[in-house]
Every structure is written in C-alpha cells, then in structure tokens.
Amino acid sequence: MANNQSKKTSRNIATLLSIVIPGLGQVYNRRFLKGILLLIVTISFLVTTWDYIDIGIWGLFTLGTIPREHHSIQLLIQGLIALIVLLFGIGIYVYNIMDARKDAISRENGNPNPTLLKGISSFYNNGFPYFMILPGLLMLLFVVVLPLLFMVGLAFTDYNQYNSPPRNLLNWVGFDNFAALASVNMWKDTFLSVFTWTIVWTVVATTLQIVLGLFLALLVNDKRVKFKRTIRTVLILPWAVPAFVSILIFSALFNPTFGAINRDLLSQFEIMIPWLSDPFWAKVALIMIQTWLGFPFVFALFTGVLQSVPQDMYEAADVDGGTRMQKFRHITWPHLLFATAPLLIMQYAGNFNNFNIIYLFNEGDPAVRGQNAGGTDILISWVYKLTFVTNNYNMAAAITIIMGLIISVFAFFQFRKTASFKEEGRY
C-alpha cells in the first residue's frame, strides 16, 4: 500500500517539477539528456522572444501611446505574431509536462529507461507527422491565418484615410464600425443595395450555370447523339480559356459604342442597350457572362458522374414503365447530387467571392448617386474599392468579417455534406 502511495507521488513530483522548471521533471526521471535539452530550449525561447512578446502583447492592448513614435499597425502585427509564437511556446511547455508525467508513470510500472538510441528513434517516430506538417503549417499561419486575424483586428479600430499611422495612433473602437454600417445613412444604403445584389448575383448566376451545365450534360449523354467527344471538347472551351481573357473580351463586346453586340447584332433590330452605363443592363450582362464562363465546369463534372450511374437501374425503371421525368428525378438527380454536392456548394461560394468578373467587366460601375459603391459591385469588389481607392480600412475589414460569416454558412453545409459521405462509405 505504502509502495503504491510512493508510486503515485513520483508521478506527481515529476509533473510538478516540470511545471516549475521545464526539463526538471525529466531530470528527476533520470532522463538527463532530454531534461537538459528541454531546459536549453526553454531558456533560449525565453531569451530570444521575451522582449518581442512583451512589446507585442502590450501593443495589442494599447496600439501605442505616443503618436509618431509608436506605429499602431506595426504594433498590431507584432502583437498577433507574438500571440502565435506564444502559442508555440505554450505547446512546448505542455508537451514537456505531459512527457515528464508519462515517463514517470512508465518508471513506476518498472519499465527501464530506454537507451539513448531508442529515445531518439521514438522521438522521431512520434514527431514525424509534426515534422511533415511544420513547413506548410508555418506558411499557412503567416499567409492565410495571420492576415485573417489582422483583418479581424482592423475591423475594431478606427483606421482610415484621415486617421492613419504613423501620424496618428489608432484606437480600439469596439463595434462602432458595424454600428455605422447599420445606422449611418450612406453606409446603410450602400450596404443594403450591395448586399442584396451580391445574394441575387450568387443565387441566379450560379443556379443558371448549374442548370445549363446539367441540361447539356443530359443532352450530350443521350445515346442517340453522335460525335460526343467533339461536342464535349467544344462545350468545355470556355473553361479552358483563361477567365480574365474572356471577361475582357466580353467587356469589349458589350461596349455600347464599338462593341459588336450593339453594333453588329442588336442594330439589326434597331435596339441600343446601355450595357455599361445602366446598372440593370450591366447586371444582366454580368449574369449572362458568368453563365457562359461557369457552365462548362458543371457540364464536365456531371458528364463524368453520369457515366457512372449503373445502367441496370434504368433498365429496371423501364420494366416498371417509368417515364423519363421519373427516371431523372429518382435515379439520375439523386446520383448526381450525391457525388457532386460539395463541389456545387463551392460553386456558390466561389461566385459569392467572384471579384474577377465584377472588376474586369466594368470595375463595379456604373456609379450610383448617394452610395460609395458602384451599381454592380458585390461585397468583395466593394471591399477592394474601400481598401485601395478610399482607404477606409476599418470599414473594409468590418464588411469582410460579415462576408466571412456568410461564407461560414456555406462551409457548414459543406461539412455536413462531406460528413455524410464519410458515413455512407459509398464512394
């Protein structure tokens, strides 16, 4: 009994020692090399990063106190990097504590300490996945995660053209920017009209491209159609041509003065449509162009899946006297949706953020009275304008956060779909 008690204490002592000084618990476990290494890592971590983290965290809270001397933006970035570094440090610290406890337990059970070589090899084996991930993880942290965090931070500051470092200090302003979006007239009106158009754009353009892609896939898949390969190749062409080239070509085609659509086609019927200067017609043109650009991907996708639908299901349906519509609704469509739903959701998410077409077609114009966004601007192209034209960084960041929330809804459905695939285990 007493023996058992002392066993339990040894693991607690090891844990406690490692909490107080990293590496000490390992030394207590008689794993000297590991203990000393951990101690050296800890000391060098603290020595090299202490000042950086200290200033960073201070900067994150205050955003600087002396104008011109403290650069709020640099402090904010340093603060975020300090947070990430700190997390790494805490990770090592927690590992050290758990490791000491594990070794102590293994010693309590009477296992001898592994030899040096064995220790190294087990470290390599257990650490291997982390080594594989590390380079990518670092890039991901600094190229994707850090900017996103930084942007979230900006949304709660007052950083704009008139209030920018190093001349001024920035302040944390809480939810003021979001409140402005909901209450200040100019922002409210612009936000509402841009937001509704973004939703209409996403739903209509994406649905049209899916419907057209589906329809064509079904037509070409028909047994009676010949030259399938050639037809498919031509139908995929809009996907193969770089989108920015096609969009700029369309932008010229729709140009009211020299564009071929007004000059060569519609003039036959004596119609002139102001494609670029009237918001309504610009939107119509954009939706048509996006359908042209987007249907080939869906077409190719559905064509691939259609060929995998088991033919005997159709034969069984034929025996039962099923109509064409019934076969489509009960066999083809579920099958297509099952295999492609996540990609279709991605299509909606992609159009929601389809900056290229909006900007390249008409730069979001025509301008609209009483708004600071153009008539065809969607949220992301509005954010671009706010950032690079009018330098309203804080508002741009706030709008981006709202976009992020909407995207998360897409992501939620994506999760559910993907999870359901796992459970089905069919593919």
Partner: protein
Amino acid sequence: MAMSSKKKSKIEVAFIYLFILVMFIIIGYPLFWALMMSVNPGSNMLVTELFPSNPTLEHYKWLFTSPNSNYLLWYKNSLYIAVVNSVGSVIITSLIAYAFSRYKFIGRKYGLYMFLLLQMFPALMGMVALYILLNTIGLTDSLYGLMLIYLGGQIPFNAWLVKGYFDTIPKELDEAAKIDGAGHLKNFWTIMLPLAKPILAVVALFNFMAPFMDFLLPRIVLTSPSNFTLALGLYNFINDQFSTNFTRFAAGSILIAVPIALVFLLLQRYLISGLTSGATKG
C-alpha cells in the same frame, strides 16, 4: 404506333443537335471575334471589321519586337512564378496530406476542419491585411512575395484533395513495407508518391495555371511594369484607353489562351476525376 415514336425520336434528336449548335455559336462567337480583332490593322475599334479586308499580323509582331513591349518579360515572370508554385505546392501539400492520411496526432481532426473552412476563404478576403503586411516586411512589388502568397494560399484546398486521394491507397501496402523495415520517409517516397501520381499531376497543373489566370493578387502586390505577370500586363494594355489598344490586347491574349486551352483540353479528364474523388472521398 412504332412509326410515330420513331418519328418523335428523330424530331427530338434534331432539337438536341439544334440546341448544341446554338451553344456552339454562343461559345465560339466571342472567341472568334477576339481572334479577328487581333488581325485588324490599326487600333481604332470603331473601324474594326469582323472579317478585315486587309488582315495583318502587325500586333503580334509588335509584342515580340517593339522595344516598348514588355510582353516577353511578362511571359517570363508568369512562367517563373508558375514553375515555382507548381513544384513548391506539390512538395508542401503531399507532405501535409501524407501526415493527415496516415498518422494519428494531436489536432488532426481540427486541422482537417480548418482546411475545409479555409478553402472557402479566398486569399483575397484578407487582402487589406495582406497588402499592409507585405508593405511592412518590404515584399511589395516582388515576385517572391507573390509566390509566398500563392504557396500558402493553395494549401487548404490541395491538402484536402491529396489527402482524399491518399486515403484511397490501401493501408496494407505501406504497413507491409513498414514490416519490411521501410522508414517513414522511404514509405512516403517509394510507395505513396508513385501511387498518387495522378492527383499530384492535378495539383501541379492547377498551380501552374493559376498564376497565368490570376489577376487580383498581382494587381495588389506588383506595381512596376517590369514585374508584371501576363494577366496584369495585358489588362494594362486596355486599362487606360480601352478602345485604342484592344487589338493589341487581343493578340497578346490569344498567344496565352491557346497554349493554356490546349493543355487544359488534353488533361481535363484527369482534372475532373481528381476533383470528384478528392471532394467526395474526403
């Protein structure tokens, strides 16, 4: 009865062909129009003709021979970024995908969720931040800055894709190799990579083409014309005075669209199968 159903079928087929023909025209017209614009003489769009009476290759010549033309430089820049991006992303993503597919480690599940979530956020959602960040570390107007963003930004989507493919490779294969004494890296190198060639080719191709097609990130990052990529340079042909340089733009675009379209059409079968397997097998 039999006659009428046969007749009905014929009419249907005729309509199918008719619809496909209409689609062909809608697809072909803009592309054909651009091709014809590129052989129109001069740069005044108001006098261009769909079938020019005196077609010319002057715009193509200008791109390659004029001392004012940066076209070859842009081609070189794009190619450079594309190659680095393609090779780099295959290395980085296959390492990550291998770890996620074959090992159990802390944070694995949440890492996967993070990839799924982040692939929805295009890099440009953080553009405010990216721009200011690159400014503070002095990597604006640098091809390296752009490469860094491409390489980091492609990870969530491609790691997910490759991981899905790795999952379909039977575990027995590498377990057997492990028994034979193959280490982690050897396993990865001699078993996983050769078997995953199709999906790695897809990743390489995607990331090779992305810099040729992308417009926004170069626009944010690059400022001096000698650093431009093709997309950015071509856009600037028509950006300032739209009507004056469209013919030149058309010529430059055709020279980039044709090779890309050809590669794409040749490989699209693999693209589709890679996408569907990666997305659904997740």
